[in-house]
């Protein structure tokens, strides 16, 4: 399956679209435009998940990231009055920019090292895309999540509870 020409065309098109969307996110001046391109980026990544036989993750990517989290991001943009930020932005931030550049250079060096000099490190896990296609994606996740990873799953509910309480405390006035 991974060798078929259709697979490679789909991969190259979505990967290029994802990179394009990511570049647009950081170059737009209007933050709402950035957010819209971020949605496009999330959708492209969902397609990449589909190509790896991870349908469940792909649907979650669309539902949670492109849907709920982007809604939250847009609400935050609307909460901060953008034009005020725009005016405030005239202050130069050379230190942050310089640090960012250093980090980008390190990242690029790692990428080039990883791709050109040697094969990417790390061992292949038990569940390759082919194996997942055989077993069924949601079944694999569910089977592990509710048995082997039961404790992290229950901890997730407490993290969500903390999120709820935090949101209420931060945004609700005492009566």
């Amino acid at each position: 399956m991974t060798g078929s020409i259709f697979y490679w065309i789909a991969f190259v098109v979505t990967a290029l679209a994802a990179v394009f969307a990511a570049v647009m996110v950081i170059t737009r001046r209007n933050p709402i435009h950035s957010a819209m391109f971020l949605v496009l980026n999330f959708l492209c990544i969902a397609v990449l998940y589909l190509l790896l036989n991870a349908q469940f993750i792909a649907i979650i990517q669309v539902m949670i990231y492109a849907g709920a989290i982007m809604m939250l991001v847009i609400f935050v943009i609307m909460l901060l009055s953008v034009e005020e930020e725009e005016r405030r932005r005239k202050i130069p931030v050379p230190l942050a920019q310089m640090l960012g550049m250093v980090l980008v250079f390190i990242l690029f060096a790692q990428l080039i090292f990883g791709v050109v000099v040697k094969v990417l490190p790390g061992e292949q896990g038990e569940f390759s895309p082919e194996r997942i296609a055989e077993l069924g994606d949601v079944k694999t996740i569910a089977g592990l999540l509710f048995t082997k990873f039961l404790f992290p799953f229950e901890v997730a509910s407490i993290i969500l509870l903390v999120g709820i309480i935090g949101a209420v405390i931060l945004s609700k006035k005492e009566r």
Binding site: A142, E154, S157
Partner: protein
Amino acid sequence: MLNTYVPVLFLIGLAVFFAVFAVGVSHLLGPRRVNPVKASPYECGMITLGPTHQAVPIKYYIIAMLFLVFDLEVVFLYPWAIVFRKLGVFGFVEMMIFVFILLIGFIYVWKKGALEWE
């Protein structure tokens, strides 16, 4: 495997085609006679004063945040439903614990009056 997504691809293509076709054709064929009244943002009503990007009240944010949390809760229910029969009572109990912890959060939000629009 991937071939099962070909209909989805067709649907997306069709949707894009419809959108581009409808807007494109009306753009090409429609007459355009602009006058100052037509070009104004509000043909009836007042012209806006000052900056239009006003900061929105934080009330909206909390609703969005709570939606996100409970949306995430539902996401965990999908894989649970798949293996429900296999796990039996054990699976039922663990999901009830999960839902109960979030129910505490829901009661907290309710009692705190965060869902009220004031």
